[in-house]
């Protein structure tokens, strides 16, 4: 079967304006968008750049915009897309080259929310800390995040204000704030309550639409806000 892909191209070294290249390639039914990109890179134009690794939606490398929707391209079957397929880099992150975007700032935002367990009591020696299954459940839907960036890239609050931590970092914040083993809310209030923190989110839900792992960053943000309101008022 033949399919046509319209692929966003940009190379800072050539000085050429960003543009789209169209490739018509032979594909198999079982292929995903990533398979098609590989086919292009391997047999048509080796200079096409994009990230990929695991091929089954766990590493978070391959998030791109496909026909206007953010997808983990390795998990998006071609058969689910009609007509010409447009592949573009994730919106609102600076494009490095072709489909690769700069995510340094995205990872820096994660660092800012102190994504590690903060607990000032020494853990028991030779034992685990105890946590009930119910308590453990509180953070379900947060720790599964693959940090692909699809959510933050789709968030209008982030487009308007690139300082905003964004849904992925806030989801991560709740991953720890919500963990009953964690005592670090105090240390995180500063950043969460800041001008770039939770209050910048306008519950637009684009992040939920965009997440290829069907996670709900908005739910996490909302819970963080409740914790902060309790804390402050």
């Amino acid at each position: 079967m033949e399919r046509t892909l319209r692929v966003f191209r940009f190379n800072p070294e050539t000085g050429q304006e960003p543009h789209y290249d169209t490739f018509t390639i032979e594909v198999e039914d079982s292929w995903t968008v990533l398979d098609a990109l590989n086919e292009i890179k391997w047999h048509h134009d080796g200079s096409l750049s994009y990230r990929r690794s695991c091929r089954h939606g766990i590493c978070g490398s391959c998030a791109m915009m496909v026909n206007g929707k953010n997808e983990a391209t390795c998990e998006k079957p071609l058969s689910a897309l009609k007509g010409t397929i447009t592949v573009e880099p994730l919106k609102s992150f600076p494009v490095i080259k072709d489909l690769m975007v700069d995510q340094e700032d995205f990872f820096e935002k994660l660092r800012l929310v102190k994504p590690w367990l903060i607990n000032h009591k020494a853990p028991p020696t030779d034992k685990e800390r105890l946590q009930s299954p119910e308590d453990r459940k509180i953070i379900d839907g947060t720790w599964e995040c693959i940090l692909c960036g699809a959510c933050t890239s789709s968030c209008p609050a982030f487009w308007d204000n690139q300082g905003f931590l964004g849904p992925a970092a806030l989801l991560k914040a709740f991953r720890y704030v919500g963990d009953t083993r964690d005592e670090g809310l105090d240390e995180r209030v500063g950043i969460l309550d800041s001008k770039i923190g939770v209050w910048r989110c306008h519950t637009i839900f684009n992040c939920v639409e965009a997440c290829p792992k069907s996670l709900n960053p908005t739910a996490a943000i909302v819970k963080l806000r409740r914790r902060l309101i309790q804390e402050k008022l």
């Binding site: 079982s30 200079s47 766990i58 590493c59 490095i96 080259k97 994504p115 800390r129 009930s132």
Partner: protein, 583 residues
């Protein structure tokens, strides 16, 4: 073109940010200046794909002892594992698992609030007698949970990360490792990392097969780097094939699908496992099932004569599939468009885990010969290394454990080493030269249309590896594969790339990776050709049966130009004498 070289100095440089590399870095960070170089963002490392769990005899669900765990590991390895290393692995397992919990890994919990554990293939109680719940897990995303927690701890400890940096070359002087040269993938440019200790944790390398569960980044760079310094690799012929890879893609259909009662059927709709393992049927060990599936395919009973058989869950009912196996169902839906509730799903064996690798001693120090000689300053752990705890065949859930135990240990050992060495030894003047030549040469081929495409060579390598040395091997096929590898290594010199730029040039990286893959694939083929017995994952149809008299020994292989030199070294046996491996 003359490429820029940037110099960096750190006490410890870890290459690889999977569970092994991050654990090593975590242990040295905060104490000494630690850097991690990774060709993908740390959280994108393939450790994140590990699903089933991580073994440790915590005994949270039922009585368990490290001796039992050791027995299973020894037997699983088909007695090729070194028992001193295996003892260390299973004893440290308990402590390390608690430590990972303390670091924040969100393990599932028992009603009492302890780490939950579940059964997994090959793990038993009471020396192989009763089923055992030993695998600590976080849903079916255990590796992901561990990887992220470790990364975040490293960030906390202010480990210096060089993300999307690709290591090209080790810097050695007088048999000591002084650092390495890496390529900045995003911006371009060579970087020399001057270090007191280098730790390789570059992960698995089953990418040289066409059908594989491994990530595209799993190209065995660490192995090639070591071999290019005239150092050996160990037990390269042992690569585990998982029976249920998604047809044509290779991603894993979790073992749970068979655990819950899934059937394997051939073109005639028969449950063919009755021909191979009458009692255990689909629940026989991985290698047995893989061979059964492959035989069906080879003998023309694949679905529609193609290279796949079916895994059939329909009889389990919608309810059970939706509650117990939602991930598996989703996988088949996404990649094959098949709903397991109404359709059987095509699968085929997939190259999964590499037991061999860079030989290291119990301190994770890299070995330079087949005796006990080591390479000061050079360490390795994780899937790229071979201590050897997995011998000829790895047990499920023992691998992330190996990464954690030996990554951690490696960190501690490097700390000792670095503390004993106050200054950095001077680098040789031409430290980056070889790497510079390689890169400048490849960049200069850009646009010369006469060259060979690296993708074509890689495809040929992957297809022939799957054809000639997958589940079943024999002398004829292996000889063929050795020759093909030689030819491909020859042709590789003619590779020309399309992209001559410095910025995010993944064309260049793929070409370098191809060179690495060809080197170690060649070694795998040579080692496999030599080993004339069946042991663990290495199955020679022309040499049935395990042959302890001649082959109870590790293979050590040197790549010397176009030639592979082999030596052998004894297996460390302390406690459990080799017996027939029966399940």
């Amino acid at each position: 073109m003359k490429l820029d070289v940037t110099y960096h100095k750190h006490d410890v440089v870890v290459v690889g940010a999977g569970i092994a590399g991050l654990y090593a870095a975590l242990k040295t960070s905060g104490e000494v200046d630690t850097a991690v170089i990774s060709k993908v963002y740390p959280t994108r490392s393939h450790s994140g794909a590990a699903q089933g769990g991580c073994a440790a005899s915590l005994g949270n669900m039922m009585e368990d002892h490290w001796e039992w765990h050791m027995y299973d590991t020894v037997r699983g390895s088909d007695y090729l594992g070194d028992q001193d290393a295996q003892a260390l692995l299973v004893r440290d397992a308990v402590q390390v698992m608690y430590e990972m919990e303390h670091l924040g890994v969100p393990f599932d919990r028992t009603e009492e609030g302890r780490i939950a554990q579940r059964p997994f293939g090959g793990h038993f109680g009471n020396f192989g007698k009763s089923p055992m719940k030993r695998s600590c897990y976080a849903a079916d995303r255990t590796g992901h949970a561990q990887l992220h927690a470790l990364y975040e701890q490293c960030v906390k400890n202010e480990v210096r990360f060089y993300n999307e940096f690709y290591s090209l070359l080790l810097i050695m002087k007088g048999g000591t490792c002084l650092g390495l040269v890496a390529w900045d993938i995003i911006r371009g440019g060579l970087h020399v990392f001057h270090a007191k200790a280098v730790h390789l944790a570059t992960g698995g390398y089953a990418r040289c097969w066409k059908i594989t569960s491994n990530a595209m980044a799993n190209t065995g760079d660490g192995l090639a780097l070591v071999m290019r310094q005239g150092l050996p690799l160990e037990d390269m012929e042992f690569v585990q094939f998982h029976p249920t890879g998604v047809w044509k893609h290779g991603m894993l259909v979790s073992e749970a699908a068979r655990g819950e009662g899934g059937y394997l059927t051939n073109d005639k709709g028969e449950r063919f496992m009755k021909e191979y393992a009458k009692e255990k049927m689909e629940l026989a060990p991985r290698d047995v099932v893989s061979r059964a599936v492959q035989t069906e395919i080879n003998e023309g009973r694949g679905i529609g004569g193609q290279d796949c058989v079916h895994i059939d869950l329909r009889h389990l009912g919608k309810e059970k599939i939706l509650t117990r196996l939602p991930q598996v169902r989703e996988l088949a839906l996404k990649f094959l468009g098949r709903d397991m509730i109404t359709d059987p799903v095509p699968i085929q064996p997939t190259a999964h885990y590499s037991m061999g690798g860079i030989p290291v001693n119990l301190d994770t120090l890299v070995l330079g010969d087949s005796q006990k000689g080591t390479v000061p300053g050079l360490y390795a752990s994780g899937e790229c290394a071979c201590v050897s705890v997995h011998g000829a065949n790895r047990l499920g859930t023992n691998s992330t454990l190996e990464c954690a135990v030996f990554g951690r240990l490696g960190g501690l050992k490097m700390l000792d080493y670095v503390r004993q060495h106050s200054g950095h030894e001077d680098l040789p003047a031409d430290a980056a030269e070889m790497a510079r030549e390689e890169i400048e040469h490849l960049l200069s081929t850009a646009g010369t249309k006469s060259g060979v495409r690296s993708a074509d060579l890689r495809t040929r390598l992957q297809e022939t590896m799957s054809e000639n040395m997958a589940v079943y091997r024999n002398q004829g096929d292996l000889e063929k594969q050795v020759k093909i590898c030689q030819e491909l290594r020859e042709q590789c010199r003619q590779v020309a790339i399309d992209d001559g730029g410095l910025c995010a040039n993944t064309d260049l990286i793929e070409a370098v990776e191809l060179g690495h893959m060809l080197d170690y694939s060649y070694v795998i083929a040579r080692c496999a050709l030599e080993r004339t017995e069946c042991r663990g994952a290495h199955w020679r149809t022309d040499h049935p049966g395990r042959n302890d008299k001649e082959w109870l020994k590790h293979t050590m292989a040197w790549l010397e130009g176009d030639h592979v030199r082999l030596e052998y070294k004894p297996v460390v046996i302390t406690r459990f004498q080799p017996e027939e491996r029966k399940y």
